[in-house]
């Protein structure tokens, strides 16, 4: 913003045209930057990319910021009796499922009775699997807005079981939620182990006296996915409907099992057991990303990580992009950084910024995954449902190192898992206030290392910094070179602004189109739908060009270097769009800037370049063409797919892209809005400039 102001001042300065006046230093700086904008834009963009590459080096070790948490300071009270309770439950559930086939709620009842025996209050909740319907007006509305269910069929519904332990001396104002998703129909043996861990813990918590917050154990019926049951339970918890619901009519449960609640939810942990660990130790994966790149407080991750590593000896990991681990260029970069670090250390032993290349590789793979899942804006697990209610939550995925039928190992596994959860719950239980002490805006490079907002925003700031500079210099060029008689006060930019506005409007309409395409009767395949979408969008584009005056590339009114003004306005719009997006979802803005900024900076009409046939010009033309091709959202999608290791499909790409976008809007990801309303118009404008007849 400040740079823009400088530009204005600079304009005023050059405007009154008195050469003798020495402008003030800040204005001088502005003029200097603008007059050398090509150099600076290259330097800044390169520095931005460089800063992004440097991020794994700048990661700090996590630390427990809130003293009240005191993780691991109390001795675990978990006894073998508690653990054998857990093992018994797992066995009973397994046996029951072997002997009884069908969709009944008997397994839920079995678990409910276990909870009752431990002294908890139990309630059962029915919910409907819900098709996510895209509605453009509901995009930013709260979680409660989609409660209106259509027709209710008794054939398919899930049943959650929730048990509540009341804190013996507590006031019941707050609660901690423990979620174990379990598919009561096709749940595997591994999944059942999570029940064992949770019930061992529950059995302990039912008899301890130190609780100050109530504990809720939710066994979520994950036959319709992990997320939906948790979201349904939270909706019922926070925004129940007092009207009679259709679901209660299809009754298999006793109506007296009313829904039970306990205070404001302070934190939530989702525990899942899946697959066998590839490593020698049991593996614990932490998933934290919720919708739109929102993260839980870092302290929650810290506590889990600390206890898992230092107390229970788990191998803790966070998700990473595996394909990056084998990429040679990143390895080279890592080696260069390592060498630079070594050199720096010889100069001054206090400069310790070099890390081994292998660590760098790991860190950047994790960082890339962290950026990608934040940018996507889709929650990485059922914990995402809690974020809608401002509850800090994470998903812990535990992979044991033994096959699920190994009874001897199972006991020890339950003991350690439950001890980890006990320690975490005890820490959260200690907390007298909401999680507030540590970071909410961060990227993880490993379970124990993070990059805070103050560091990672440098890369973004450097990337977008050239945009206003280039915009200003282009504007000056566009206005002065063409006709010296027309000065800067002309309204010439208005035409360009009209074009930019028209295309952004088009982008907005294209964003809304899928809603109407979904209304088209008949079952359409995703490929067909994406085809319809592309067709309608391009016809709309043509209509815009024909109808809106001043927008058409075929219009005779456009001539000369007018593309410069258009580019300047385009760049300004991109700058504003990126800055706005960085507030909503930083990671999206960062990745968007990586694609948009070089494209916007490089693009210029190729006709004169091709005509001139000089190597430099040809290279420039090629460069802008490549960048514009990469900037196309579908291409971006394909590249990102390739990056995370999934095969590229030639023909089915459109369909895949459609399903991808569908998932984005179903999760109300702001990335969808960004692609439709910032990225697509900017790309169209760049394309337009590329083929500008000048």
């Amino acid at each position: 913003m400040a740079t823009e102001k400088q530009d204005k001042e600079e304009e005023v300065k050059t405007d009154d045209g008195s050469p003798k006046i020495k402008p003030r230093p800040i204005v001088q700086l502005g003029i200097f930057l603008i007059s050398h904008s090509p150099v600076f834009s290259v330097v800044f963009s390169a520095a931005g990319v460089m800063a992004l590459l440097l991020l794994p080096l700048l990661a700090k070790n996590t630390y427990i910021s809130e003293n009240a948490l005191m993780p691991g300071s109390a001795r675990s009270m978990l006894s073998h009796r508690d653990v054998s309770d857990g093992s018994k439950l797992v066995n009973d559930v397994k046996n029951f499922r072997l002997n009884h086939e069908g969709q009944g709620v008997e397994v839920q009842r079995l678990i409910g009775n276990y909870m009752l025996d431990m002294g908890a209050e139990v309630s059962y909740q029915k919910f409907q699997p819900e098709g996510n319907h895209f509605h453009p007006l509901h995009f930013f509305s709260g979680p409660a807005s989609f409660t209106n269910l259509g027709n209710v069929s008794c054939a398919s519904y899930g049943v959650n079981v929730a048990g509540i332990i009341r804190a013996p001396r507590g006031d019941g104002k707050e609660s901690i939620v423990l979620v174990t998703p379990y598919d009561f129909i096709n749940g595997g043996d591994y999944e059942a182990l999570s029940l064992g861990i949770a019930s061992s813990l529950f059995s302990l918590l039912a008899r301890v006296t130190w609780l100050s917050k109530d504990i809720i154990w939710l066994v979520a019926d994950s036959r319709y996915g992990d997320y939906r049951p948790v979201a349904a339970w939270l909706t019922e918890y926070h925004t129940p409907s007092f009207e009679v619901s259709d679901l209660s009519k299809c009754d298999e449960l006793n109506p007296s099992d009313s829904f039970r609640r306990a205070g404001t939810v302070a934190a939530a942990l989702v525990v899942k057991v899946d697959g066998r660990s590839e490593r020698f130790e049991d593996t614990l994966s932490i998933y934290a990303e919720a919708s739109n790149g929102q993260m839980p407080n870092l302290d929650l991750i810290n506590v889990v990580n600390y206890l898992a590593v230092h107390r229970q000896g788990f191998y803790v990991k966070v998700e990473k992009v595996v394909s990056l681990l084998s990429s040679s260029w990143l390895k080279t970069v890592g080696e260069i950084f390592e060498a630079v670090g070594k050199v720096a250390r010889t100069l001054n032993p206090d400069w310790k910024f070099g890390i081994p290349a292998a660590d760098y590789l790991e860190g950047s793979a994790t960082l890339a995954s962290s950026l990608y899942s934040q940018a996507l804006g889709i929650p990485t697990g059922p914990h995402g449902a809690f974020r809608d209610y401002q509850v800090d939550a994470i998903t812990l995925k535990v992979s044991p190192r033994f096959p699920p039928d190994n009874k001897g190992r199972q006991h020890e596994f339950f003991l350690r898992g439950a001890q980890l959860l006990e320690g975490t719950i005890r820490s959260v239980n200690n907390l007298l206030e909401k999680f507030h002490q540590s970071f909410f805006l961060y990227l993880l490079t490993s379970p124990g290392k993070f990059i805070s907002v103050g560091v990672y925003m440098i890369a973004f700031a450097l990337l977008v910094a050239p945009l206003p500079m280039v915009a200003a210099s282009l504007y000056i060029d566009g206005c002065t070179t063409q006709n010296p008689a027309e000065n800067l006060k002309s309204w010439k930019w208005l035409d360009a602004a009209k074009q930019v506005f028209a295309l952004h409007l088009l982008g907005f309409i294209v964003t809304l189109l899928p809603y109407f395409i979904c209304q088209v009767p008949g079952e359409q395949s995703p490929t067909n739908r994406s085809f319809i979408w592309a067709a309608t969008s391009s016809s709309l584009l043509l209509i815009t060009f024909v109808t809106v005056p001043g927008c058409s590339p075929f219009s005779s009114r456009l001539h000369g270097a007018n593309w410069a003004v258009l580019k300047s306005v385009t760049i300004s719009a991109a700058f504003i769009g990126l800055c706005l997006m960085s507030i909503i979802n930083f990671a999206t803005a960062e990745i968007g800037a990586l694609l948009l900024v070089p494209m916007c900076l490089m693009v210029r009409p190729i006709k004169p370049d091709l005509r001139s046939r000089r190597v430099k010009s040809l290279l420039r033309a090629l460069c802008s063409m490549v960048l514009v091709t990469n900037g196309f959202p579908v291409m971006f999608f394909a590249i990102s797919k390739g990056l995370i290791g999934e095969g590229l499909v030639g023909l089915g790409l459109g369909g895949e892209f459609w399903t991808w976008l569908e998932s984005l809007w179903a999760w109300k990801s702001a990335t969808y809005l960004y692609i439709g309303m910032v990225h697509l118009p900017c790309w169209l404008l760049c394309l337009y400039i590329l083929f500008h007849p000048s």
């Binding site: 003798k20 006031d171 019941g172 609640r261 206030e433």
Partner: protein, 633 residues
């Protein structure tokens, strides 16, 4: 001098003692103190202990300002603030209405909301009630080492009219849900007893065992009756006897010494009566239990008397005989598994918050039919042919919860009800921001066969002023408990015997209103991050500097004037500048540019900026050199 004063005062002293003697002799009514302890096994393997101390004083004018047993502090309160009736309770933990009972006298009197609750009726003109209340809160705050003085502010108390169960326009009610209750509150409370905790039943109050309980409520009730002042002090604790799990699912056996770690060694000599009661509910054969031993349980001490009530048996023990050598240690040993359930209030009340986000929400009160209500519906409570349950809801809303009363919705059996059908009476006093709290009193008349009632009301969350936040980062703000009372239902123990000699039992025989408090709620409000004021200061300063700087520039600067000034100044350039320009010119390999002949601003700026660049490089070089040399040493 002092001797002289003393001699002068002696006749007065003599006179006074004489007068006192006359007063004693003439008045039949004396101050009375009685102590009692009620023990009751609860269905969920816990034991309830209810200490009750009663202190009566004749009307105050008969003794002047002096009392033998009655605590002077309390009588001074009465005199000073003209308190007609007052109740103060300190509570920790939640009363479990499902397992510990909801409709007997014990629970409707002693199940109190978490924290401190205080209500008082004054005997002063209406205009002075608020002043008396404020003074009373301060006095009690000092007396009980608690922050009762926070109830002084008009945002924390209310004046219920009829919803509280006592109709008086001189009643004030307030509660502090956040108050932590500890021994420092118990000690001043014990000081009001004539024997403190040195002797008698109160000697059982071993602090660790009392505070280890699941529920702990210490209550002080003061009332002016026709025979003078009546001060009732009671402490209700729910304890978990230590047991070894024997797999037989028996109720745990306990004794006084195992519960409290102490035994009763003699009564408080000042007490007129001191008794221990054991109330047993849900016995299989109530007739056979007069015996010391039977097939269901066994008592360690022979009861002095046994009373029967419709659903329970009461054993009375007199502790007069106990002494150091023969301490009284009542024990109960179960022999058979027995299961019973306590009497429930007609409707079970729970309350919760709805909605998400920091903007708005809703409060919902859910009333669910209990088992006892199902029985009740058979009973004839006809009111014009219809069997109905009346329920009063009394709720205080702090001002930061801005309630929209028009959004009140009542759902009876999951169907929305037009309000007039069940809502018989409603009294609302809206809150004023930072001035007074809001209050809502509702009278519902529900059909007896009702299964569930839901009441919801929406609110906006208020913004607090910066100094209204608590000093540390907080978890949220509290909404005090709502009180649900059932005016048609009264709890009493139905004894046939005359019990005026036993104060606790005569208290139980009286009819008392069935009431229950709901949970305290926690509203998370938008909280600025106070732990980082530095960030706030920096950002604000930057924004202010940018804003005011540019604004002042725009307002103050006159470009024309500046130009002229610069022109006149440009003629005489400094020697250093000329030197520098020559230096740069040499570097750039160009002839020295004379400032007036330079035509474009851009060129000049590039010259100047190169100069600037040079300066920066110079400074950076010096800094690097200095860094290098300083670290080497």
């Amino acid at each position: 001098m002092s001797k002289l004063v003393l001699t002068r005062w002696i006749p007065f002293l003599i006179l006074q003692s004489f007068l006192l003697a006359i007063a004693f002799g003439s008045n039949e009514v004396e101050e009375e103190f009685s102590e009692s302890l009620l023990l009751k096994p609860l269905p969920d393997r816990k034991v309830l202990a209810h200490f009750h101390f009663e202190n009566r004083a004749p009307p105050s004018n008969s003794h002047g300002r002096h009392h033998h047993l009655f605590p002077k502090a309390i009588s001074q309160l009465v005199q000073k603030f003209r308190v007609k009736e007052m109740e103060l309770s300190f509570t920790q933990g939640r009363w479990n209405h499902e397992h510990w009972g909801g409709s007997d006298t014990l629970s409707s009197m002693n199940a109190k909301p978490v924290g401190v609750e205080l209500w008082a009726v004054f005997d002063v003109p209406r205009s002075e009630v608020d002043t008396s209340w404020k003074n009373l809160t301060h006095a009690l705050s000092g007396l009980f080492c608690a922050s009762i003085n926070f109830l002084e502010s008009s945002t924390s108390y209310a004046a219920p009219t009829w919803g509280f169960g006592r109709s008086s326009d001189k009643l004030r009610y307030g509660s502090l849900p956040r108050e932590a209750v500890c021994t420092e509150n118990l000690t001043p409370w014990l000081k009001l007893l004539p024997c403190r905790d040195k002797d008698g039943i109160s000697a059982l109050m071993n602090r660790p065992s009392v505070y280890r309980g699941f529920y702990h409520s210490q209550r002080l009730h003061l009332s002016m009756v026709h025979s003078g002042m009546l001060l009732e002090q009671s402490l209700t604790v729910v304890l978990q006897p230590d047991t070894v799990y024997d797999g037989k699912d028996l109720q745990p056996s306990w004794s006084l010494s195992s519960l409290f770690g102490r035994k009763v060694v003699g009564k408080c000599v000042l007490a007129k009566s001191s008794n221990v009661y054991l109330q047993m509910e849900g016995l299989a054969h109530p007739e056979a239990h007069t015996l010391l031993k039977n097939e269901e349980f066994e008592l360690s001490t022979q009861p002095d008397r046994t009373l029967r009530e419709s659903s329970s048996v009461l054993f009375i023990f007199n502790i007069d005989k106990s002494s150091d050598s023969q301490p009284f240690d009542l024990g109960l040993t179960w022999k058979l598994t027995s299961k019973w359930s306590c009497k429930q209030a007609p409707l079970h009340a729970s309350r919760f918050l709805m909605g998400s986000g920091n903007e708005r929400g809703a409060i919902a009160i859910l009333l669910k039919a209990t088992e006892s209500q199902e029985k009740l519906s058979g009973r004839d409570l006809t009111n014009g042919g219809r069997c109905t349950i009346k329920a009063n809801v009394f709720q205080i809303f702090p001002w930061y919860v801005k309630v929209y009363y028009h959004t009140l919705q009542i759902f009876v059996d999951q169907q929305q009800n037009t309000s007039s059908e069940v809502l018989k009476k409603i009294n609302v006093s809206p809150s004023a921001d930072k001035m007074s709290s809001g209050m809502m009193e509702m009278m519902l008349e529900l059909p007896c066969e009702v299964k569930s009632v839901a009441i919801s009301i929406e609110y906006d969350k208020g913004f607090l002023h910066i100094d209204e936040y608590p000093p540390d980062a907080n978890q949220g703000f509290d909404i005090p408990s709502a009180l649900i009372s059932f005016p048609d239902h009264h709890a009493s123990l139905d004894f046939k015997e005359e019990l005026s000699k036993l104060p606790l039992l005569s208290k139980f025989k009286e009819k008392s209103l069935v009431r229950s408090y709901t949970e305290v709620l926690l509203v998370p409000l938008t909280t600025p991050d106070f732990s980082m004021p530095y960030n706030v200061i920096t950002i604000t300063c930057t924004v202010f500097a940018l804003y005011f700087g540019s604004l002042l520039n725009a307002l103050r600067r006159r470009i024309g004037e500046e130009e002229r000034f610069l022109k006149s100044k440009g003629k005489k350039t400094g020697g250093l500048k000329q030197l520098l320009s020559r230096f740069t010119a040499k570097i750039r390999g160009r002839p020295v540019e004379s400032p007036p002949s330079e035509p474009t601003a851009a060129a000049q700026s590039s010259v100047l900026s190169s100069k600037l660049l040079f300066k920066i490089i110079l400074v950076a070089g010096v800094a690097a050199a200095w860094q290098y040399f300083s670290t080497d040493k």
